[in-house]
Symmetry: C2
Subunit: 369 residues, 2 copies
């Protein structure tokens, strides 16, 4: 195992929280939307996993950037980019949406926030959706303005999240429903809070627009959170794989379509909404998908996956594993893999070579838990 440091520069943008998390002991970063996203703190990966599943963590996820689409044609542009039906989307709600190109290839899998028909935020995974939206808007002569507002999300995640949130925002926050958002007061500032987050342990994401107030809130969470054993944290590889939360760029990319990614319920093909790649997806649905994202369980006790590894049966490649970790729950390696037809139906035992050692594994459904 070789480790390398991140070479910092203005191009790999720091967040408003970076100096705080560096004082709190962040030990590794990934880069996401040209921005620093914490990937680990001083505690071991199993310690942070257990902590997230039992207490509450504050995450710097400012790298989840917002693309704001505003103007008369805003809905039309947003709908054009996603195969999810947003024609009846409600104000104040969040929608997980595959963004696809003209071939049905995945460009991103953001959460889209509807403020009103003429104002939307696309809370993006790691690709420059703003450039795609700009290109389309220019080409189609849409009346929209497209920008990346200065919003720095902090997530509060874990089973004790609402205990902490209630102390600061009052009982009102307990009424916030899953994937809804609303503005809440903190001191003299308002913060957009959505009941969402990149874990299945519960909590919210706070879309901080007023940086000064956001930093005061960040500090207060650590003050008031002591009784709940609050710690700084970040999206957690083990927890997210066990929960079946997909990661764009890891588990899928532009060479995969949403049907292959198991996103069927977010693909609307039978009404008259207009989006890119619709005809292509209708064709694909008819002829059947050639590969599918599946779970895999491998009889091994560690893996450090930095690129896809082939899975084989009798030396024939049946797919590739794209994300993986050792799972303390299953006491083996689990992962997310793109499996070829017909193997994703048959779920036979396969072989995989990890660090020059042969292991066996089996295909399963996601989520794992």
């Amino acid at each position: 195992m070789h480790n390398q440091y991140v070479a910092k520069s203005r191009r790999l943008r720091s967040t408003i929280y970076s100096s705080r998390i560096e004082n709190q002991g962040v030990t590794s970063y990934t880069i996401y939307n040209h921005m620093l996203l914490p990937a680990a703190f001083q505690d071991s990966i199993e310690e942070t996993y257990n902590h997230l599943k039992n207490y509450v963590q504050i995450w710097d996820v400012a790298a989840e950037r917002q693309i704001e689409i505003k103007g008369k044609d805003a809905y039309q542009l947003v709908q054009l980019m996603t195969c999810r039906d947003l024609s009846k989307a409600k104000e104040g709600k969040c929608y997980y949406c595959p963004i696809i190109d003209e071939n049905g290839g995945m460009i991103n899998d953001p959460v889209i926030l509807k403020f009103n028909q003429e104002k939307w935020w696309i809370s993006i995974a790691d690709s420059d959706v703003m450039l795609f939206a700009k290109g389309l808007a220019i080409g189609k002569k849409f009346e929209v303005s497209i920008s990346e507002p200065d919003v720095n999300i902090m997530a509060v995640q874990g089973p004790k999240a609402f205990n902490l949130l209630e102390k600061i925002f009052g009982k009102e926050i307990l009424d916030l429903k899953f994937y809804n958002f609303k503005y809440f007061n903190f001191n003299n500032s308002k913060h957009l809070i959505a009941r969402s987050g990149w874990s299945k342990q519960g909590g919210v994401e706070i879309y901080v627009e007023d940086s000064q107030s956001g930093l005061e809130l960040y500090d207060l969470f650590f003050e008031e959170g002591k009784e709940f054993n609050v710690k700084p944290g970040c999206p957690h590889l083990i927890e997210r794989i066990e929960s079946g939360l997909l990661s764009y760029g890891n588990d899928m990319d532009i060479n995969d379509n949403p049907l292959e990614c198991g996103m069927d319920k977010f693909v609307k093909l039978d009404n008259d909404i207009n989006f890119l790649g619709k005809e292509k997806l209708i064709q694909i649905k008819k002829s059947g998908i050639k590969k599918k994202l599946m779970g895999v369980k491998i009889n091994a006790d560690k893996i450090n996956l930095r690129s896809a590894i082939n899975l084989t049966i009798d030396d024939k490649i049946i797919g590739e594993i794209r994300s993986a970790c050792y799972s303390p729950t299953f006491k083996k390696v689990i992962g997310i893999a793109m499996i070829l037809n017909p193997y994703f139906l048959k779920k036979d035992q396969f072989n995989i070579i990890i660090d020059n050692n042969l292991h066996t594994g089996e295909i399963c459904e996601i989520p794992f838990v």
Copy 2:
């Protein structure tokens, strides 16, 4: 100074050379186009600087991804994205081109390679130009196909580069002119070689399409290069700043236009070519730019810049420094700064606070050397 490791995953794509440079002692990475780009090796930054200016280095710059635009409307699409006049571009030549949006904002500053009127490669800096091109092509109904081919550039840079290249490719390579490209034979494979690179020390970039052959070539460079003191390297902060090579995302971004970036000679406003933002740039040129990229020299002996730092005169902000390093040539800190009007004309002395210490500096032209 806090240092953090890079958390590796499939999303931060490794290159075909990654395992080699990790064995050769790469110590830090930056991320560029969702890919690992080496940023430092074991030798000190001044040692690698002196080495690059005296010998020859092999760089893994596979993160300079290619966007291939092919088809009947390929020229029209490429020209639409850049303010540089490509109407008379020649086959087999490279063109440094600002790519801008409808407001004249910089989206990228690639080198564009013309194969023929219906096939171009855009060798991109760090932003998803493919998504911009796709959006435009869809919106405008252009007949083009847009893809990211599997090309992994290796650069050979330094004053001894052509000594090494001649040993392998013969005298023919010496005839390759600056910013021209041509296919050269190596064993049974052909490699596109351009006389270009992200240093001013001379050399080429090899656009490796045949990975197996490219890796053999990589290894052979180290075998045959011993007599020229060859080493692995990477784009060098000090050398590139001294040479005035701009870095997209560091020195400029979508909030800056090419006139503000000193790219006037790549902005064609007085003929009938059609590109985005043309009207806007004509207006800006008429009314005069409000800020400009300039060099700065600061009386300090070190800096670690990870985000912009304000420059002031009598507590008034006159601009911000965006890239910087200690220069062994000037024996002070030098950098690239966006300076407000009228200060970029007057070149007064300014103040800057680095690590809580006040320093003075002056504005100058780029390149420095």
